[in-house]
């Protein structure tokens, strides 16, 4: 387990380093003078004349070899200095952190709801495999896959905000602001989670050790609770992490539609406005979090299924 931990942490670090290097290169590979772009992200005032640009370039170390510049950029980045936004002229970190907070709460509520809905649905569908209930649950949740966010979000707004006036249609001001965007985001994971829980449970139910458990005198319910559900939920833990990581940067559509100042919205704006420092800050933070979460899920998976840890160690 220790070796595994060390190995996975090393992989995590390498993944973050590689992606951050790509991000670091953005000013160099996009059109325009990289030196001017970098100066703009480092110096608050406007710089126009060549002489100042050269002097500033010198003092910011922009003539150093790329690897040296990269290490300096990385060091600044992870000590909280992500530079200045090209547009708002305020520190990027002050925009990224609040946006991250908003997106994290949105994603957490959406996926939490998805789990709470999928667990009972998946378990019931598996226990009554082939029945009408199973078919109903499977058909309905599968149809969610075909409901894209840009279609669902306006529909929900139309019904719950405009017609029924129950919930706010946009913004991030009241607690109820989270309901419609979270519901929109939760729908597709519900369909994937339900089908994962269902098939995980069916596999667990068909395992031969189930009849051995019954032969020990465990009742049907005891067997399900002790020997089926825990094993059947293992696939969900991995899927949850994948979705969590994906939605961190993937909630763009929902955030734009509902005018939520989250990460997706921030990245969208940064790209639209060619705000390089803002995009850099947003992408690296999202990547680091996503990699950390999937690694965490791997640990969880190993704790849940000792056989996996035995096989890999």
């Amino acid at each position: 387990m220790i070796t595994f931990l060390a190995k996975r942490t090393a992989t995590l670090v390498v993944a973050v380093l590689l992606s951050s290097f790509a991000v670091f290169l953005i000013p160099f590979v996009t059109p325009g003078d990289p030196v001017r772009k970098i100066i703009r992200s480092r110096v608050a005032g406007d710089v126009v004349d060549e002489a100042t640009v050269r002097a500033l370039g010198e003092s910011l170390g922009l003539n150093d070899p790329l690897p040296v510049q990269y290490l300096r950029w990385l060091g600044d980045f992870f000590t909280g200095d992500m530079g200045l936004s090209h547009i708002s002229r305020t520190p990027v970190v002050d925009q990224v952190l609040p946006a991250l907070g908003i997106t994290l709460s949105l994603v957490f509520v959406a996926l939490g709801t998805a789990v709470l809905v999928s667990l009972p649905l998946g378990i019931v569908a598996a226990l009554k495999q082939g029945s009408k209930t199973d078919k109903l649950i499977t058909t309905v949740t599968q149809s969610f896959i075909a409901m894209p966010e840009y279609w669902l979000a306006p529909l929900l707004v139309l019904v719950f905000a405009l017609k029924l006036s129950l919930l706010p249609s946009a913004g991030w001001n009241t607690a109820s602001s989270i309901v419609l965007p979270a519901a929109t985001l939760a729908l597709r994971p519900i369909s994937f989670f339900t089908s994962a829980v269902r098939s995980g449970m069916i596999d667990a139910l068909e395992a031969e050790h189930i009849s051995a458990a019954r032969a020990r005198g465990l009742s049907h319910v005891q067997t399900i609770l002790r020997h089926v559900v825990p094993n059947g939920l293992v696939p969900l833990s991995t899927l949850f992490a994948v979705w969590f990581a994906g939605l961190l940067g993937g909630s763009v559509i929902v955030e734009v539609i509902f005018a939520i100042p989250g990460m997706g919205r921030l990245l969208y704006d940064a790209v639209i406005n060619s705000d390089i420092p803002l995009a850099q800050g947003g992408v690296v933070v999202v990547v680091a979090l996503a990699v950390a979460i999937t690694t965490l899920a791997d640990f969880l998976h190993r704790i849940l299924s000792p056989k996996v840890s035995g096989a890999l160690a």
Partner: protein
């Protein structure tokens, strides 16, 4: 203690309406060892499952009664049944490793019946777990209780399952082929353990098996089943000594593998395989245990039949996997002498133990078998199809079977297909890793005959990995004995049985003598 009585039990499959059991009657008295024998699919397992009321959902009891003392099992409520299962009625399953929840420790498994049937919890339960594990022969019960199922060998898992079945202090134990995946020494130990329980506390045992040697050794009475019907029953001496039906005679014949006249080991022959100081070490650093193979040197002659014997976990399978290259070796060398000329990787083929596990269940047999041929250049579809059909005929199967999926074939058919798959690649050496131990005696017999014919006709070199001494005596020219990863004996079969040198070989040979059990019964009668 009460008696288990099954009367006129008929079980039918709801889908097909086919009777699985037709009027089965049997009784197991306290302190009695009753054997239920028959080929695969004869209904032995379903009889045991009916007793526990744990039939697969598509099967149901149509008529008949099952009584345990005063309790009518067929009419009992679920709550009553839950008290009986694992309590008064214990069950041992075949394939012990698959019968444990992979994410729970052995200790956690054993605490369940203790809590359910004896009300033991906490420290008391822990102490009892250790005591039970020690009783079934765990050298380090602490370690055993902490282990996860996948960390145990087949033998240890069967011991753990025995401990679990005994935890509820059963009156009757249903043992469904508990030893068919184990070697002779372990089999003897497990059966002796059950027999001790029988003598000490009057445990009644229903022993389901297709191994007649162990029946002769332990059973008081025998029931023979064929196609869901009990065709013969009586005392062990009568049924095995003077069988009344042709089916029983066939079973007896099949399990009595007399040595065939095989030419002596061809010492002058060239080597097919040369292994020099092969070491296989799993794990590294602190996890490094005893090497799975410890400087094994072995010379397999071209055209010989070599038997490889040894206990579960002695490195037999690792050796086979190393030879075909499925497992890398840590040091030493393996040379395929005969085929060095064209150095085909496919010149050594492996046949696995579990025929159902060696095919992709989603593919038809044709697609499975065609896959290796596709990698050979210059074969047209028609040519491939012709070779598949020829290979099927070689193993005496109808080529029409190729369009079925593994689930639609019997174990015996599939094991033939595995051999056909190996033959397609025209191997020089065929390694059979316990290729017949999952099959019943009748099927085993026919597979062995097939292998002998291939050896004779094709000059195939065979390496038969087994724990079945009868198989070795029946068809091997030389015997190699592995013990804890080391090759401890390599000798001619005759010499091996008449004068085994190593202590472990002596144990194997003495455990294999069927009459030893009959002595045991005489001793028992005298007590």
């Amino acid at each position: 203690m009460p008696e288990l009585v099954v009367e006129d039990l008929t079980v039918r499959s709801e889908g097909t309406g086919r009777p699985i059991l037709a009027g089965v009657s049997l009784a197991v008295k306290p302190g009695e060892f009753v054997a239920l024998v028959g080929g695969s699919g004869s209904g032995k397992t379903m009889t045991a499952r009916s007793v526990l009321q744990l039939l697969p959902p598509q099967l149901s009891i149509e008529s008949g009664s099952i009584r345990l003392g005063a309790l009518d099992v067929t009419g009992a409520s679920e709550a009553e049944l839950n008290r009986v299962r694992g309590g008064r009625l214990g069950m041992l399953f075949q394939q012990p490793k698959k019968m444990f929840n992979p994410s729970k420790t052995i200790g956690a498994h054993l605490r369940e019946p203790l809590k359910l049937h004896s009300g033991l919890r906490g420290r008391a339960a822990k102490t009892k777990v250790l005591q039970l594990l020690a009783e079934v022969g765990f050298e380090d019960p602490q370690q055993g209780a902490r282990s996860y199922p996948h960390q145990l060998s087949g033998g240890m898992a069967q011991r753990a399952m025995t401990a679990m079945a005994l935890a509820g202090q059963p009156e009757i134990l249903l043992a469904d082929e508990p030893t068919s995946a184990l070697d002779k020494v372990l089999e003897q130990q497990i059966l002796e353990l059950l027999d001790r329980q029988r003598i000490q506390r009057g445990l009644g045992v229903l022993y389901i098996t297709h191994n007649l040697a162990s029946v002769a050794a332990f059973a008081d009475r025998v029931l023979v089943m064929d196609a869901g019907v009990v065709v013969e029953s009586g005392t062990t001496e009568t049924v095995l000594g003077n069988p009344g039906t042709t089916y029983t005679r066939k079973l007896l014949e099949a399990s009595n593998l007399a040595p065939t006249s095989i030419p002596a080991a061809p010492t002058h022959q060239r080597s097919a395989l040369t292994l020099t100081n092969v070491v296989k070490q799993f794990g590294s650093g602190k996890r490094k245990g005893r090497p799975a193979l410890d400087s094994v040197s072995l010379d397999v002659k071209k055209g010989e039949i070599l038997g490889v014997l040894g206990q579960s976990g002695c490195g037999k399978s690792t050796l086979a996997r190393a030879i075909v290259g499925l497992e890398g070796i840590s040091s030493g060398s393996i040379t395929r002498t005969v085929i060095a000329a064209d150095a085909r990787a496919t010149a050594v083929q492996l046949v696995f133990q579990e025929p159902h596990d060696s095919f992709d269940p989603r593919l038809t047999l044709r697609s499975s078998l065609e896959a290796p041929l596709r990698s050979q250049k210059g074969l047209t579809a028609a040519e491939r199809s012709r070779r598949l059909a020829a290979a099927m005929e070689e193993v005496e199967l109808d080529p029409a079977l190729l369009d079925r999926r593994p689930g639609q074939c019997s174990g015996g058919q599939l094991q033939r297909v595995t051999i056909a798959r190996a033959l397609l690649l025209e191997p020089e050496v065929l390694i059979c890793d316990e290729a017949t131990s999952a099959l019943d005696a009748l099927t085993q017999r026919t597979i062995l005959e097939l292998l002998q014919r291939l050896h004779r006709d094709r000059g195939l070199t065979l390496m038969i990995i087994t724990h079945d001494m009868d198989v070795v005596r029946h068809m091997c020219q030389r015997v190699a004995v592995l013990y804890q990863g080391r090759l401890v004996e390599l000798t001619d079969t005759d010499k091996f049985f008449s004068d085994p040198q190593h202590q472990h070989s002596q144990d194997l040979v003495s455990a294999a003598i069927p009459c030893r059990g009959l002595h045991l019964k005489k001793i028992r009668a005298a007590l």
